[in-house]
């Protein structure tokens, strides 16, 4: 027993002595480490606000800020530095953005990113010294549209957040919330809206929404949302020209009749084109099957085609494009069902089809999709009789 007691006492005394020694060392080194860590954190803040002094972290949960804002710091001069998390194509972007007391951007930098393209590394430099209105005009980068669009949105969020933190007010609704509010305001009788596929080219109209309760349609003309009830009456306030354009679009859109074309009667049409229709005005609508990763991929391919619906003018310009069905890899090729991807095909011709941004990490999907859409132009020529 004495032997065991001696061992226990010895080990305990050594542990206590070591603990005391480490506590003393911690007392000396902890303030130094804390100061160094603070300086390191400040370096990231100074990178986007070189003139900033005495940064203090703000509890963002105490404010209603844009959801992308994950952290905020105030500085002695009345400015703010915001940390934002946003999404480019698929991976997360963490952006630091400094906004001075006058609402001007002092700097923006991407501090971490899983994006593959790398444009985000230097894109923030374009915002330095700009006010909110000027920042909105900064162009996105071709080939990295989604990444740079997300970046721009994050910078806009930073400006709004800085305004709110300074005691002002700002519109911090998300794009979806703004759209929903605009649709409800344009057609108050409508309840939940669904985007419509445009078979006909509607002059000046960028999108059509149909109220699911049958109350009518909303046509988006530039910045204006024009509601038209089921009887064809314009219910939104707008100038006469806009009203007339909306009415014309309503008539054209609701009177569209599709006549199916017997494809077997035409030689040379790609098997990617499954069905074709002709509209009353001579435009075409196609249902396509695209061989993306589901067909051509090696690992985990679903064996299923992507199904696409495309409308195009007889002159060979795409009016609308929508993904009807896809079985591509989740979170990679599945981006082909994202409107931000397939709406890029709008307005494209055989010559400009290559301008569509690829899906990061999903070359097969994008290539298969683009090839299928390109068959539309060939099919139109054949259907018009030029190659019959």
């Amino acid at each position: 027993m004495k032997k065991y007691l001696g061992s226990i006492v010895s080990l305990t005394v050594i542990c206590l002595a070591v603990s005391v020694l480490l506590a003393a060392a911690n007392g000396i080194t902890a303030p130094v480490i804390e100061k160094a860590e603070g300086e390191k954190a400040n370096a990231a803040l100074l990178a986007v606000m070189p003139e900033g002094k005495d940064f203090q972290e703000i509890d963002v949960s105490a404010y209603t800020l844009p959801t992308s804002v994950t952290g905020a710091y105030s500085e002695a001069g009345g400015g703010h530095v915001l940390r934002l998390a946003t999404t480019g194509y698929a991976a997360g972007l963490t952006i630091m953005c400094g906004v001075d007391k006058n609402g001007k951007i002092t700097g923006a930098a991407c501090i971490s990113s899983g994006e593959t393209l790398g444009y985000e590394k230097t894109y923030g430099e374009r915002f330095a010294g700009l006010a909110a209105e000027e920042a909105a005009l900064v162009a996105t980068v071709a080939g990295a549209t989604k990444t740079t669009t997300a970046y721009k949105k994050a910078v806009a969020d930073a400006i709004n957040a800085a305004t709110i933190l300074s005691g002002g007010s700002a519109d911090i609704r998300t794009e979806e919330e703004i759209l929903r509010d605009n649709l409800a305001a344009a057609l108050p009788a409508g309840e939940s809206f669904a985007k419509e596929f445009m078979a006909e080219e509607l002059q000046g109209v960028s999108a059509v929404y149909k109220a699911e309760n049958g109350a009518g349609y909303v046509f988006v003309l530039g910045e204006s949302f024009i509601g038209i009830d089921a009887g064809g009456n314009v219910v939104s306030e707008a100038d006469k020209e806009t009203q007339a354009a909306a009415k014309a679009a309503f008539t054209s859109h609701t009177s569209t009749v599709l006549s199916e074309i017997e494809l077997s009667a035409y030689a040379g049409i790609s098997p990617r084109v499954e069905k074709a229709y002709r509209t009353a005005s001579g435009n075409y609508v196609f249902e396509l099957s695209a061989a993306g990763y589901g067909i051509n991929g090696e690992y985990g391919a679903s064996g299923k085609y992507i199904r696409i619906k495309v409308s195009a003018t007889a002159g060979g310009k795409i009016i609308d494009c929508v993904t009807l069905e896809q079985h591509e890899t989740e979170n990679v090729g599945s981006a082909c069902a994202d409107p931000k991807y397939y709406e890029q095909y709008r307005g494209k011709t055989a010559e400009t089809l290559g301008e569509v941004d690829t899906i990061a990490g999903a070359t097969y999907t994008h290539r298969g999709y683009s090839v299928a859409v390109s068959k539309v132009f060939e099919a139109i020529e054949i259907l018009k009789g030029a190659k019959r």
């Binding site: 032997k3 001696g6 061992s7 010895s10 080990l11 050594i14 542990c15 070591v18 020694l21 480490l22 060392a25 911690n26 000396i28 080194t29 130094v32 480490i33 160094a36």
Partner: protein, 246 residues
Amino acid sequence: MKKETNLSVFLRGLLIENPVFVLVLGTCPTLATTASVVGALAMGLAAAAVLVCSNVAISLLRNLIPSAVRIPCYIVIIAGFVTLVQMLMHAYLPALYELLGIYLALITVNCIILGRAEMFAGKNGVLRSALDGAGMGLGFTLALLAMACVREIFGGGTFWGLEIPFISNYKIEFLTKAPGGFLVFGLLIAAVNAITKCRAIKKKDFGCETCPSAGACAAKPCPAADENLTTKVGMTEKEEKENGNG
């Protein structure tokens, strides 16, 4: 048995009992931190500091620590010094602290340190233990530096982070990777054997009786304590002498 001089206690860790190339201890940090000379030097000096301090502390306490709990006591003392070194490096050498990362904390379980505590500091006086720690620490540092020089110069085309003209155009990047580390390690062990003409410490000289865990398996007869010590597989010491080997 002739008593070693203090100088020989210090010097033996440099080559004839070099912990890395002869005793083949501390292989993990040796391979992990020798891709750069800076990392190797920092790891070597940090381990040497812990080695000297823990040897001194264990030597001072050797008569107070009961044999049954000596290993836990040694580990607590070593871990205490490692944590102390970590705190100091974090505070005053943050760049090196980040460079070494987890390998700094892993000094606690470095065989060299526990090995010297058990083999030497627990049985010798303070001065000799300090000299042993300093010699072994310096030997460890020099071994790491030798490895790092080969790997950084020929693998990275740089020295101390500075680009070396000509070599940087023909660098063998493989050497900076783990397999390259093993290759350089093997070549340097061969070089040390060649230099010492295999007169460095023999395996039987640091057999089970010097193993830190020997106490834990004391219930079984320790082969090293056996008169017919097996020095080579399937051959006893007696047979070796008869066959002219050894």
